[in-house]
């Protein structure tokens, strides 16, 4: 019996110890992995890292980079290749990439706060300005020349929006706390071949032109427009933005009296889509499309247009095939509204250098390397849009580039209708029913007024 008791005690102790080792459930498994990686290589970081690049002294050290990508994604693979090329260029350096995935928006702040070693990171837009304290001001860095950029500076090489958009997304206008890459825009993406067949010669710029284009597409046998439940509020919100401006839409979303929803502008918006639904311009399945069913219809050639991101071609590339040509146009102006030809919702992914980074010179070099022509080409290959002024565009998107270049005013997605998370589900549901022809424009307004008052 005594032996049994000792054995039992031993087992209990083992259980207790194993429970203790796995108890920190909050810290992601990545942290233990990261620790083992950084222990392998002791960083030879020079604490007084001068920002000036010294060609005589070879670059060395380690950078820990937290990214929002997963290593299995094409973009993740591209990143790894870019890091490998950097390490080949500078043999004494090590770039350790932490593949956080989209969860970075939850894990980054606690990690930074707890003092975990992070030198560079993809700044998640969800944090807005909250991480400013942890970021280095890169204003000087983007102006200095780098060898990997052929003597140019980062600000010479990247699109101006790559410096502007991060300021807006982080709500930090003083200083440059992040540099953007992989810019995206919300545009009407369309099947260029379908447009040609239907005899549409120029991109629609007004709602009436869009109406005419849809009629031609219908005749040619295509379904003009579709959308998924996930992005229904984008195509809807943008009409309101075109009609009354983004600030008005934000107020509308926040309205709790129902007064603003009674505005004739809302009725006009509802009637416009009721009209489109009646004419058959909206796919019969919009009532029940679950993402990505709708966008797959575009890729397969059934539907001609979809108001979505410039990243749409990559997402449906499997269904669309290599010969699919894309076109794009900005959300058209609507009757009664101002002209917004140069305004569209836009954003980008951003990289920042941590204020606790010890090897700033190395981080700066890597940041510049990311924006070099070679790296940019590799990113474009994996499906990302280019951040470089001289960057190449995938063949399928050549027609999209001129539209991209025209945009200079950045809006919020959905024209601002997303700003109130309470009203958004009701708005989306009612809009879907309106577009599917189940409720009338008047009923839509009624429902929204009632919902706003709750």
């Amino acid at each position: 019996m005594k032996k049994k008791r000792i054995a039992a005690l031993g087992l209990a102790l083992v259980m207790a110890l194993s429970a203790c080792s796995s108890a920190p459930a909050q810290a992601p498994e990545e942290s233990t992995e990261k620790e083992s990686v950084s222990q392998e290589q002791t960083p030879e970081a020079t604490p007084e890292a001068t920002v000036e690049e010294d060609a005589v002294q070879p670059l060395e050290g380690e950078i820990v980079f937290w990214t929002m990508w997963n290593d299995t994604e094409p973009q993740g693979e591209a990143w790894q290749e870019v890091a490998d090329r950097f390490m080949a260029l500078y043999p004494n350096t090590k770039i350790t990439i932490q593949w956080c995935g989209r969860d970075i928006s939850k894990t980054l702040k606690p990690a930074l706060e707890s003092g975990q070693r992070i030198d560079m990171f993809d700044y998640p837009t969800q944090y807005s300005g909250q991480l400013g304290f942890y970021c280095l001001d890169l204003s000087e860095m983007i102006e200095q020349p780098f060898d990997v950029l052929g003597g140019q500076s980062i600000s010479d090489v990247v699109l101006p929006s790559m410096l502007e958009t991060p300021k807006k997304q982080t709500n930090t206008w003083a200083g440059q706390i992040a540099v953007g890459y992989k810019p995206w825009l919300n545009l009407f993406m369309y099947n260029a071949a379908a447009f040609e067949e239907a005899g549409i010669t120029s991109n629609p710029t007004t709602w009436d032109e869009l109406d005419a284009a849809c009629a031609k597409l219908l005749e040619a046998g295509y379904v003009p427009i579709t959308f998924d439940d996930a992005y229904a509020h984008w195509i809807a919100g943008m009409y309101l933005q075109r009609l009354k401006g983004q600030d008005w839409v934000i107020e509308l979303a926040a309205d709790t009296t129902g007064e603003m929803w009674n505005d004739p502008a809302v009725l006009q918006f509802a009637q416009a889509f009721e009209d489109f639904a009646q004419k058959g311009y909206l796919d019969s399945n919009v009532g029940g499309n679950k993402w990505p069913a709708g966008q797959m219809d575009v890729g397969s050639g059934k539907v001609a247009m979809y108001y979505n991101l410039t990243g749409l071609p990559v997402e449906v590339s499997d269904v669309a095939g290599p010969d699919f040509k894309w076109g794009a146009f900005n959300y058209p102006d609507v009757p009664g509204g101002e002209s917004y030809a140069d305004a569209a919702p836009a954003g980008c992914t951003m990289t920042a250098i941590s204020s606790g980074c010890e090897n700033v010179a190395l981080a700066a070099e890597f940041l510049a390397f990311i924006h070099s022509q070679e790296s940019d080409d590799r990113f474009v290959e994996s499906g990302m849009t280019t951040s470089s002024k001289t960057g190449s565009w995938p063949e399928a998107l050549t027609d999209v580039k001129p539209v991209f270049d025209e945009i200079s005013v950045i809006l919020q997605t959905g024209g601002g209708i997303e700003t109130n998370p309470e009203i958004k589900p009701v708005f989306t549901e009612n809009f879907i029913k309106l577009a599917a022809g189940q409720i009338s424009a008047d009923k839509f307004v009624e429902n929204m007024v009632a919902a706003a008052q709750q």
């Binding site: 429970a19 944090y127 679950k290 997605t413 601002g416 997303e418 879907i432 919902a451």
Partner: protein
């Protein structure tokens, strides 16, 4: 000597469990309850950055139409679909234990959906089974010529809840079938034989023998189902990309408030205090359900014959 050994024995087994309970259950619970009375910006913020707001978070919840809708949804899930799933599970388990061939095979088949990852199941349902162009239901209904049924939009907002619950029932009924089958199997066959001699039919046997003797197990199934239903989250997020009225549940609402669900470039404001308040409310609901169930179905250990424990016999023999 024996008593000392016993004491050490108890302590060494209890300590890990108590430590786990304190750090993994009690501490977070107390912290969440505190959080619900404050305005907190981010979930890992230090306590000194919290701003005391009293019951404002709770007031905000009850003023939110979305939250109220999530509560009605969860009540439907718990009560209406709880009954449906339990009845279905009972039916299946009675059929399986009524002497059909390949009983083990059927049992495994029915349990299989429960093992498969919820994400995989959810994707199958939304992208294939319910699809309105080439989906499973559409093809089968068309095959039988049921045109109106084939045109039924399963994933439209008004039908989405039904679609989600069908998928949920499919994935969870197996678990309860397993428990109930084990329960029915443990009922001594003497009762059924006696009933046969008395001339009772199948229905009589079911209502007068099976059901009463399964009372304890039913109660446990209901408790398990309630706990699972209160935490209903995965299916909601799979059936809805953004939060939708049809599928919102308190957990989804809490997630949105604590972590945000930004699509595009608009960052919605986080309110971790409100999220914590939702957590507190869920906890109160679960406690209430447990008390309610205890009163509704009291334990009746005395009546139910138990198989004698063989361990005791072993010790006495020594």
């Amino acid at each position: 000597m024996k008593r000392k050994g016993r004491g050490l024995f108890y302590v060494s087994f209890l300590t890990p469990a108590i430590l786990c309970f304190l750090f993994i259950f009690l501490y977070p619970t107390i912290r969440t309850m505190l959080m619900s009375l404050f305005q907190v910006e981010f979930i890992t913020d230090d306590m000194d950055s919290w701003v005391f707001v009293g019951f404002d978070n709770f007031k905000q919840l009850f003023n939110s139409a979305l939250f109220i809708r999530s509560m009605t949804n969860i009540l439907k899930i718990w009560i209406v679909w709880g009954i449906i799933i339990m009845v279905l599970a009972t039916l299946l388990s009675v059929i399986i234990t009524s002497g059909v061939k390949f009983k083990n095979f059927w049992r495994s088949l029915i349990y299989l959906p429960h093992i498969i990852s919820v994400v995989a199941l959810g994707t199958m349902w939304t992208q294939y089974a319910f699809n309105n162009q080439y989906g499973l239901f559409k093809t089968i209904f068309e095959l039988f010529g049921l045109e109106t049924m084939a045109a039924f939009q399963w994933t439209a907002p008004e039908n989405l809840f039904l679609a989600m619950m069908i998928a949920y029932a499919y994935g969870s009924v197996g678990f309860y079938v397993l428990i109930l089958v084990a329960g029915i199997d443990s009922i001594s066959t003497d009762y059924y034989e006696a009933a046969d001699i008395e001339g009772a039919g199948n229905l009589g046997k079911f209502f007068y023998i099976t059901l009463p003797l399964l009372k304890d197990i039913f109660k446990r199934c209901i408790v398990l189902y309630s706990a699972g239903a209160m935490g209903f989250f995965a299916y909601s997020t799979l059936f809805s990309f953004n939060t939708e009225l049809a599928t919102v549940t308190p957990m989804v609402y809490m997630y949105d408030n604590v972590f945000g669900r930004a699509t595009g470039n608009a960052a919605t404001p986080l309110n971790v205090g409100a999220g914590a308040a939702v957590g507190v409310l869920i906890m109160i609901m679960v406690l209430f359900i447990n008390v309610f169930l205890d009163k509704l179905i009291p334990n009746d250990r005395d009546e139910r014959p138990r198989k004698k424990s063989t361990v005791r016999r072993g010790r006495n023999v020594h």
